[in-house]
């Protein structure tokens, strides 16, 4: 034997080795705990569904253990108990915030996070087209969602988020403002938009929603108390006035101008125009070669007007729109066809009226559209 055997004494570990070991231990510990999903408070857990097959407006329990999944439970929902009142905060009413999205704007997301309504009562729903642009927007959106829902503070996290991808191709590849607003493209474009809105609405509405807030992806600035402010009026359908900030070269300063012309009150001229049209033709607002002389809410805005002032409307836009869930449940949807010569959001207003729900507008309550 070359080397004599004997009780081998451990070599003295250097403090550096110990320190590295400790760091590793901590890392292992950290990943063991940190790898699990973010923890939620008890009240959020209580409202969660127990099975993945459940209304998407609430989060569900992820199956952690192996073993066979249990049969889904028999779930009861009493819609008589779903309140829709002027005090949604006090009655802890659930809001479904729906956004058809073609492009992702960081300002839009930041604005969402600033909403002062408790986020644990807000469910977000998105629908994006399956185009190159849509894919990019989805990636961006998912990045922001992961940031908020996984690592953000709990008060920022939303109750539940649904991302849908459209099952039809948008008729126009270009989202250019000029191309988008061409009159001959409008009917096809808005029919596709209506289908996207309906797809998003009817798959996410669920049995617990009290209010549906439609907010376009290019609305980048709203008051933080938007939901409370709109719900306070307790109207079936209510639309704020959508403006756009721009740099006024004449005044050499930032200025704002009306943007959404789909909020209007009907005029005798428009009624006459409609009578002469074919059954599938639609009347559009904001085009010079089709003067309707409708009273547009965009121009009813007064700088010194009361923010709470309401006006009844016959057509609404979708930039921002708060709707009682019951209106949608009764069947009011965004017609993707000519409905009384109206389409999409304007057709929705008409359909709501046919069902006995009167839409209203807030001419002096402003939200802002992105400027391209």
């Amino acid at each position: 034997m070359a080397r004599p055997l004997g009780p081998v004494r451990l070599k003295k570990a250097s403090p550096v080795t110990l320190a590295i070991g400790a760091v590793f231990c901590i890392l292992v510990l950290y990943f063991l705990i940190g790898s699990s999903a973010p923890d939620f408070s008890a009240s959020r857990k209580a409202s969660a569904a127990s099975h993945p097959l459940s209304p998407p407006t609430s989060p569900f329990r992820k199956s952690t253990g192996g073993g066979k999944p249990k049969a889904p439970p028999v779930a009861h929902y009493n819609l008589n108990n779903v309140t829709i009142t002027s005090d949604p905060l006090g009655n802890r009413e659930n809001i479904l915030l729906l956004t058809p999205m073609a492009r992702f704007y960081q300002q839009y997301w930041d604005n969402l996070l600033k909403l002062s309504y408790p986020h644990e009562l807000i469910t977000l729903g998105f629908i994006l087209p399956k185009t190159k642009e849509g894919n990019a927007a989805t990636t961006e959106l998912q990045k922001q969602i992961a940031k908020t829902q996984k690592s953000g503070p709990e008060k920022d996290r939303f109750k539940s988020i649904i991302i849908l991808r459209q099952d039809f191709d948008p008729p126009l590849q270009s989202q250019d403002e000029a191309e988008r607003h061409k009159i001959q493209n409008q009917k096809v474009r808005r029919a596709a938009m209506a289908k996207a809105r309906n797809s998003l609405l009817f798959t996410t509405l669920g049995p617990a929603t009290s209010w549906v807030l439609w907010l376009d992806a290019d609305v980048i600035e709203t008051p933080a108390s938007l939901i409370q402010d709109l719900a306070r009026h307790n109207k079936p359908v209510i639309a704020p006035n959508c403006f756009q900030r721009f740099y006024n070269t004449e005044k050499k300063a930032m200025d704002e101008r009306p943007y959404d012309f789909n909020n209007w009150q009907d005029s005798p001229t428009a009624v006459e125009l409609a009578k002469k049209m074919g059954p599938d033709d639609i009347l559009l607002e904001g085009y010079a070669d089709m003067a309707t002389y409708r009273a547009l809410m965009a121009y009813m805005h007064k700088a010194d007007g009361l923010r709470q002032e309401t006006v009844p409307l016959d057509g609404v836009g979708g930039a921002a729109l708060l709707v009682k869930a019951d209106v949608h449940r009764d069947g009011a949807m965004f017609p993707p066809f000519s409905f009384y010569h109206l389409i999409e959001t304007e057709g929705f207003a008409k359909m709501a009226k046919r069902l006995g729900w009167q839409p209203f507008g807030l001419p002096n309550y402003k939200v802002y559209h992105y400027n391209e």
Binding site: P15, S36, F40, A71, Y77, E154, R165, F337, R354
Partner: protein, 487 residues
């Protein structure tokens, strides 16, 4: 065996022995034995301090980490269990759902592609039909785990809700896993009842428009609460279907149409003809009806099957041939609601059951119109029939009462007749039996007489007078009897 192992009980450390392994004893040489125990001296103060710092550092790091996790909303327990037991004290929440709607378009062979169906059933005071409905449900051949059930219970005064819940829980707890359905939602919503649910008030003409609008609202509420992004198909089914093939879902799906309905008939009692078309809401549009629609005001609703609106439309129901090809399709414009299979896409895009007058139609007929307007295919199968339960109308009940009365009267009459004839028989006896008896008696007598005659012939001389007397007596008796029967 080795030399050093045999050195008695005294165990000598091996290396000491091996030190002499070359055979030569070492002298008193200088030796440093690193393996011999030497008591440790005191560690230098600098190293002790360093070690203290390291230990303090570790403790601080652990405390920091602990604090970080608990402050971030985690529980102390989850840290102590190293996150491994976190599932035991609670569960993890998933808040984000992602769905690609192009994966749920609906195809002709949905069961192979695991396409989910939403089965919608509107209910009101339907307790008595639930047993029959569940027997149909259990027999569906479409994989149960792919069927999501949604029920709307509205304005019910009977035990519909309790019976429904019990039956569903029984199915979900069934030992046979193939019986378990997917998501099950029971939705309660009262709309305030405008019309009674009994047959007469339900089918009266005046009640139709408001009733249909209300039904439409109920259907829309049910659908909007239960439709999910993962549904490929939606199947509407009434509880009061009595007979339908178990394969109905696959049968309808195979046609790969956007909206498809079977023919709906109902069996009738024999006195009413045995069977009858039931669902008259599946029809093709006619010029007459379009012209009629133009004359009506905005809120009017054309309802089919009433003399008030003669539309002259071809009805799916009347085109049935019991021996026709069940796969034959027919384009229709209005659909009936007893059994509708539609692609979920139809409802996702916005088609619904108008609770207002949509092109002068409401509910399922309006749905057919709206689906057509949105360029969906709407098809009926004239020779594929399911059977609706027969519920007698008030007239039928009256008629049946009348028939029952007649039957009873007839029975009583027959009974009376039978009794009368029995009485007659009792009073006057039965002649036929007597005849036979008499006949045999007569024959006996005749026989006896013959014998006697023969005997007498033998002794002719002895007793000629006695032989002549006997037949005469028998004849007298017969004459007496005959006289009695004649009277």
């Amino acid at each position: 065996m080795l030399p050093f192992t045999s050195s008695g009980s005294k165990v000598v450390p091996r290396h000491h022995v091996s030190g002499y392994s070359n055979g030569y004893p070492r002298g008193n040489t200088f030796e440093i034995s690193p393996h011999r125990f030497t008591p440790r001296g005191t560690t230098p103060i600098s190293r002790r301090r360093k070690r203290l710092f390291v230990r303090l550092g570790i403790v601080a790091a652990i405390l920091f980490l602990f604090g970080l996790i608990t402050w971030n909303g985690g529980s102390v327990l989850s840290v102590l269990s190293l996150g491994l037991l976190s599932s035991s004290d609670g569960f993890q929440l998933e808040t984000v759902r992602y769905y690609d709607l192009s994966n749920v378009q609906g195809t002709a062979r949905g069961w192979e592609r695991e396409e989910r169906i939403l089965l919608c059933v509107p209910l009101r005071d339907a307790e008595s039909h639930l047993g029959m409905f569940f027997s149909h449900l259990k027999n569906f051949t479409y994989p149960h785990n792919l069927i999501d059930l949604a029920f709307l219970v509205s304005d019910s005064k009977d035990r519909t809700l309790d019976v429904l819940t019990e039956s569903l829980e029984e199915i979900q707890n069934d030992a046979d896993e193939n019986q378990h359905f997917g998501e099950i939602s029971i939705i309660e919503k009262d709309f305030g009842q405008i019309v009674n649910q009994d047959v007469e008030s339900r089918h009266g003409f005046a009640a139709q428009a408001p009733r249909r609008k209300l039904m439409a609202r109920a259907r829309n509420w049910l659908l909007s609460a239960a439709l999910r992004p993962y549904h490929s198909w939606v199947y509407w089914r009434d509880v009061d279907v009595e007979t339908a093939p178990f394969t109905i879902l696959e049968d309808l799906m195979r046609h790969n149409k956007d909206v498809i309905v079977p023919n709906v008939w109902r069996p009738l009692p024999d006195w009413l003809g045995g069977e009858q078309p039931y669902d008259l809401n599946s029809w093709q549009e006619s010029e007459t009806a379009l012209a009629l629609a133009d004359t009506l005001d905005e809120d009017a609703v054309i309802v089919e099957g009433y003399a008030e609106y003669a539309t002259w439309r071809p009805h799916l129901a009347y085109l049935r041939d019991p021996y026709g090809d069940p796969d034959m399709e027919m384009e229709i414009d209005g659909v009936g609601g007893v059994s509708i299979l539609a692609k979920a896409r139809v409802f996702r895009y916005g088609a619904h059951f108008p609770a207002f007058s949509f092109e002068k139609h409401a509910e399922t007929e309006g749905f057919g119109k709206m689906a057509k307007k949105m360029q969906f295919s709407v098809v009926g199968l004239p020779h594929y029939t399911i059977w609706h339960l027969y519920e007698p109308s008030v007239d039928d009940i009256k008629h049946m009462e009348q028939m029952e009365k007649e039957r009873l009267a007839k029975e009583a009459e027959e009974k009376e007749k039978a009794e009368k004839s029995k009485k007659i028989k009792e009073e006057f006896g039965d002649a036929t039996g007597q005849w036979e008896q008499d006949k045999t008696k007569l024959q006996n007598i005749a026989l006896q007489a013959k014998k006697e005659k023969e005997a007498a012939e033998k002794k002719t001389e002895d007793q000629p007078a006695a032989a002549a007397q006997a037949p005469a007596q028998g004849q007298q008796k017969v004459e007496e009897k005959q006289g009695g029967a004649k009277t």
